[in-house]
């Protein structure tokens, strides 16, 4: 198994490979944000920030922050040439209306039906769903990017036990151990991370895995 840092880079790079030229993409806070650093050359992707703009660029240098320009995490941000700002109803017209090609989010749990839980742990942590429920319902492709387990305990399950963010919406799960596609027959293991065995993946997964006949090593 890869160490934490190499695992995170692997996830970000592998997710980046899923993006196509011209895609409109929304990246969640945390690990998903790092996907922006690894967009393949020759591919032009437009990032959408649900607080109200497209053309999300890198964080500004210290001293160059614009107090009126933040990303959906509330952090100072930048807007690339050709970007556009709008209000929250237009932002979610874009999201819920199917105009986002891919959304990349973290998860607390994801299951073999493509159910996703990532917005609360009852009695413990209730940050709220923010824009996540709309993103997961509205985006054409929903990619979960996360560490395969939470300190050893399963996050990929037969059935989510935490309150759902949305039902049946996840398309692809990219972790530090594997790439798994959600199909109508269940979870299809398509790729395994370097330095990782099939047994390790199976053990770290709380649901049945269908092994792709063309199982590969994750390449980034």
């Amino acid at each position: 198994m890869l160490d934490k840092e190499r695992g995170r880079v692997l996830i970000a790079k592998r997710v980046a490979k899923e993006l196509k030229d011209g895609d409109v993409v929304n990246l969640g806070i945390g690990l998903p944000t790092e996907v922006a650093n690894y967009i393949p050359e020759g591919i032009e992707v437009t990032f959408q920030s649900e607080n109200g703009f497209i053309g999300l660029g890198p964080a500004p240098k210290e001293g160059e922050e614009d107090k009126d320009l933040v990303n959906a995490g509330g952090k100072y941000s930048s807007i690339l040439p050709g970007g556009a700002c709008f209000d929250s109803s237009m932002s979610f017209t874009i999201i819920r209306g199917g105009h986002v090609d891919a959304t990349v989010l973290g998860a607390l749990q994801v299951d073999e039906k493509g159910n996703l839980a990532n917005w609360m742990i009852p009695g413990k942590m209730v940050p709220g769903m923010g824009g996540a429920m709309d993103l997961v319902v509205g985006a054409k492709k929903v990619i979960v990017a996360m560490e395969h387990t939470a300190k050893g305990s399963h996050k990929i399950l037969k059935e989510c036990t935490l309150p759902l963010t949305a039902a049946n919406q996840v398309d692809l799960i990219v972790t530090d151990m594997a790439v798994i596609e959600v199909t109508k027959d269940g979870l299809l293991l398509k790729e395994i991370a370097p330095e990782t065995t099939l047994e390790e993946v199976k053990e770290a997964t709380g649901a049945e895995l269908i092994i792709d006949s063309n199982l590969k090593t994750m390449e980034v």
Binding site: S49, E50, N51, G52, F53, D66, D68, L69, V70, A72, G73, G74, S77, I79, C85, F86, D87, S88, S89, S91, F92, I95, R96, N115, M125, V126, P127, G128, M129, G130, G131, A132, M133, D134, V137, G138, P163, L164, T165, A166, A167, N168
Partner: protein, 217 residues
């Protein structure tokens, strides 16, 4: 029609128990001077409608910390630990609404629509107790409009009639709440003459704005 008021004058309109909408996303684009004045006045039992509860020391988060809010209708509370604490202790009621649904519910109230039909929240706790309407074989949640007594808008550039232009990401919920309240107050960061905002670039037409307050320096 002179819409100019001092902060003290508009504070007279803001009373205990009212429903108040604020623009702003994690404090970005919130009328900070008016928030400060409400904190100072100590208005109580507010039903707060905003995207989030911002931070303890910023935006509407200050109203939470000062225990002026009875109920918060928001999409996110994770950046203000005090919101979660008051929610868990039962001091504060929190209605969590998906962000896109929140935006549409406010817009529906402003646009005279009876509700919002959205796929967002189906199969989740958000759907509990709500009507599901089937349209051409697909299910949608019926979400109701959200209106307020007062909307407190932040405007980057405001002309003397009350037309508003929002800079960068300060726009967020501001144009929506401006349509959905009985009284609309805008805190102007920069005040300009009528005509300085091109008619096409006006983002909130002046007819929605009742009062203009200048942002404190």
């Amino acid at each position: 029609m002179n819409k100019f008021r001092t902060v003290d004058e508009v504070l007279d309109l803001i009373k205990d128990g009212q429903t108040i909408m604020f623009g702003g996303f994690l404090g970005n684009g919130t009328a900070e001077s008016i928030v400060d004045a409400i904190v100072k006045k100590g208005v109580k039992d507010i039903t707060l409608i905003c995207n989030d509860t911002a931070f303890p020391d910023r935006g509407v988060g200050k109203l939470i910390v000062n225990k002026q809010v009875k109920k918060a209708i928001v999409s996110h509370i994770g950046t203000n630990p005090e919101t979660g604490r008051q929610m868990n202790s039962g001091e504060l009621e929190v209605e969590l609404v998906p962000q896109g649904t929140l935006a549409e519910r406010v817009r529906a109230a402003g646009a005279g629509l009876g509700g919002v039909l959205t796929p967002t929240g189906l199969g989740t706790v958000v759907a509990e107790g709500k009507e599901i309407i089937e349209i051409d074989g697909k299910q949608y949640l019926l979400e109701k409009p959200l209106k307020a007594d007062i909307a407190i808008v932040f405007g980057s550039v405001v002309d003397k009639k009350g037309n508003i232009w929002y800079n960068k990401t300060t726009r967020n919920f501001n144009p929506l709440i401006a349509t959905a309240a009985d009284v609309v107050i805008v805190e102007a960061e920069k005040l300009v003459e009528v005509g300085e905002i091109e008619p096409e670039n006006v983002m909130t037409p002046h007819i929605f704005v009742d009062y203009i307050v200048r942002r404190a320096e």
